[in-house]
Symmetry: C2
Subunit: 441 residues, 2 copies
């Protein structure tokens, strides 16, 4: 009889690895933040005793969702300027407001709002790209969620940095401060080809290799991004990045709605990871990432919500459904981008993209206990022929009832255990007043 930290008993368990496996009436054994094993529930008695037991008789238990691309603090700008094209949305609303308001408080309060929403909707790990990483990190530690902090680098300066060197100085300082943190890891986040010149990109390429730190970048988000670059330089942005030596397995290319066959081949040959943000790409009419073609060429495709300002939520369950529906439509094939495929995109593929698949992304012996439970007893999910199908096509963020990160129970029957929701809502309303007054609508 072994004493362990926790036992989670699930009606269905989908470990994601192996592909498509559905275990019925199994239990996950957790000790010191890790998964010890997964066994039939009727074999637990006599073998394990636990400090904490959670019975999930009507639930599907699966790996925590990985939101591979977002701008957490931008949740404070959610819905302030909708139904606008990317360019004027950024240039007339988002950038001016950020220019005026982005600071330590904005990032702290915006990240609190975002992290609460993410935990409540089943996200256990997210990759962020924003300013003031130290303030995000404080919130992340307080919340107990897992995060990959993207250190922004851009030719454009703001309150956070007044010149490009400062982005590097502050970024590297952050890397150093957090290199031993159990939940926070780092990567470089050059904003986009059209906002970062060659010199900083060269420096990022060198530092990424030296420090073994990955790179995440918005690439080929729109037709005009590509055509403008071709007009100005004769080169497509992806070609320029290749010439700069950036097309490696350390690169996560976000969006990628503009891709030709040769480029897909190149991404596959170089092991570049793609991060697909279907709802943001649709809402901003940016275009469609050819997910089915990419997967067919062996490219790893992960899933992200993008920031709440262009989505307008951070709901990965909803994003999975959108990815499946858009993937089928784009491929002109209803069998493409199946429910199981989008579940992989939102879990193990995200872990691979971030280079964290030894630790997270599936429920396997020895991996971190990043786990969520979804109540499948809702009327919208009946009849229950296939739990994976019902999870993707009929489930709802509010049906995520429990969430663990590194074995810690961060949401218990819909209640957050580490964050104070009402004070977060109060902060948010104060920001609403300030921002609304200033938005030049």
């Amino acid at each position: 009889m072994k004493l362990v930290d926790s036992l989670i008993h699930g009606r269905w368990i989908v470990p994601v690895v192996p592909h498509g496996q559905i275990l019925e009436n199994h239990s996950i054994v957790i000790n010191s933040s890790k998964i010890i094993e997964i066994i039939p529930t009727n074999e637990v008695i006599g073998r394990y005793q636990a400090h904490h037991e959670t019975n999930l008789k009507e639930h599907l238990v699966l790996p925590g969702l990985i939101n591979a691309h977002t701008h957490a603090a931008m949740s404070l700008l959610r819905g302030i300027a909708d139904d606008l094209p990317l360019k004027s949305w950024l240039e007339k609303h988002i950038w001016p407001l950020e220019g005026q308001f982005v600071g330590e408080e904005f990032v702290r309060d915006g990240t609190l709002l975002a992290v609460s929403e993410m935990i409540l909707s089943g996200t256990t790990c997210y990759a962020d790209m924003y300013f003031y990483p130290g303030n995000s990190a404080e919130v992340i530690s307080e919340a107990g969620i897992r995060a990959r902090i993207g250190l922004i680098i851009s030719d454009f300066t703001n309150n956070y940095c007044t010149n490009v060197d400062e982005y590097f100085t502050k970024g590297l300082e952050f890397v150093d401060n957090y290199k031993h943190h159990p939940l926070i890891s780092t990567q470089f986040a050059p904003h986009a080809p059209y906002t970062v010149s060659d010199a900083p990109l060269n420096r990022i390429q060198v530092l990424s290799t030296e420090l073994a730190i990955p790179i995440q970048m918005h690439i080929h988000e729109t037709v005009s991004e590509v055509s403008d670059a071709v007009e100005a330089t004769g080169k497509r942005p992806l070609q320029r990045l290749e010439d700069l030596g950036l097309l490696t397995p350390d690169l996560q290319a976000v969006h990628m709605t503009e891709l030709n066959a040769e480029e897909i081949e190149k991404l596959s040959a170089n092991g570049v990871h793609i991060i697909h943000c279907p709802e943001s790409n649709m809402k901003l009419a940016s275009g469609t990432c050819p997910v089915d073609l990419l997967l067919g060429s062996g490219v790893n495709v992960a899933l992200g919500t993008d920031g709440a300002a262009s989505n307008n939520d951070l709901d990965m369950l909803g994003e999975m459904k959108s990815a499946a529906l858009l993937g089928k439509l784009a491929a002109k094939d209803a069998t493409a981008v199946s429910a199981m495929t989008v579940l992989e995109m939102a879990t193990i593929n995200g872990a691979r993209a971030l280079g964290m698949d030894k630790e997270i992304g599936s429920l396997e012996r020895g991996k971190q206990a990043d786990i969520i439970a979804v109540d499948m007893s809702g009327i919208e999910q009946q009849p229950m022929y296939n739990p994976i199908s019902q999870l993707v096509y009929t489930s709802d963020r509010t049906q995520v009832t429990n969430l663990w990160v590194a074995g810690k129970h961060l949401m218990k029957d819909r209640q957050l255990t580490t964050l104070n929701l009402s004070s977060i809502l109060e902060n948010t309303q104060e920001w609403q007043q300030k921002l609304k007054q200033q938005d030049n609508l």
Copy 2:
């Protein structure tokens, strides 16, 4: 001081007509199933007293959603055969199962499942297309929801009808039985151009005019529907329907993913209504209805979920978000198909398509009190810059807390007042066993 049936006090009221209006802290006065007026809440005292008062301090109050196309009873087949192309989905799974099981019990129990889900997600009126209308009607009367029953006519016969004449006999009998029902109205529902030959279509055209009954039909759902028809007859299906005199304001054309400029012009000139089912069209990879072009040409476009077997839910809030996102992507314009536009598609446009816009579709004096309330206090909806935008892009079916049809309170704080959810779930599980055993997967 006037005594009325009900008063609904809302934080925000969006009547939909006039376009874009948002009333803050207003109240809806309801008497004998109708809206008497909408006035500022602080003017209620002294003017009205009510038998029932509902305070919705954090809610957006709006017209009930109109699901303009579904196959309610098919909810029993939800998720039984996902990620398949339309043809094999229909021919290998759905049709064989229907052939074996569709009957009075199936329709009664399937409709109960569907109507519960619809009420819980904010739908007050739906247009159905299925067999055994009498059994659907019983459930509809019991539930108190509003419905337009589509009387199926097809060359294919089944348990319900063994020959085409029988479809007409039974259909007309139903029309007669229900012509004075307060909540149930009828229309003809020839299944599709490829399943209904000219003779029955001629007869429908004559009867529709004689009896002033509209027609709803699946038209141009896929490329192959159109190309097969051209190959077999040299005519596109829409051309054939025009030759048969069916392109009139009495026709609701469902799907319409294949349309050329000339056809759009023709639909506009003839006042044909379009019913757009974005999630079904995406999930089955059927194609994309050019919503922005249609609206731009003055065509009335309504919204439907299609059956739960190809969606897989009956969630009109989710469908609104999908319609906005897909509409922008298809138009390559982020300003296209705005939040307010999809709200109109899901309310007043649906009422127009069904010829019911004198009665429902907006919150106006004299119209039926078909009303829903959505709780906007969720963390996913903060900050609140624009309630219509947050309703469409961030709200969730579970945030619909209250629903009235003809002034009757059918959902009260998420609780159904006319249906027994647990017995519906039990029935559904029995069907699950039977159907799962037979599905030839």
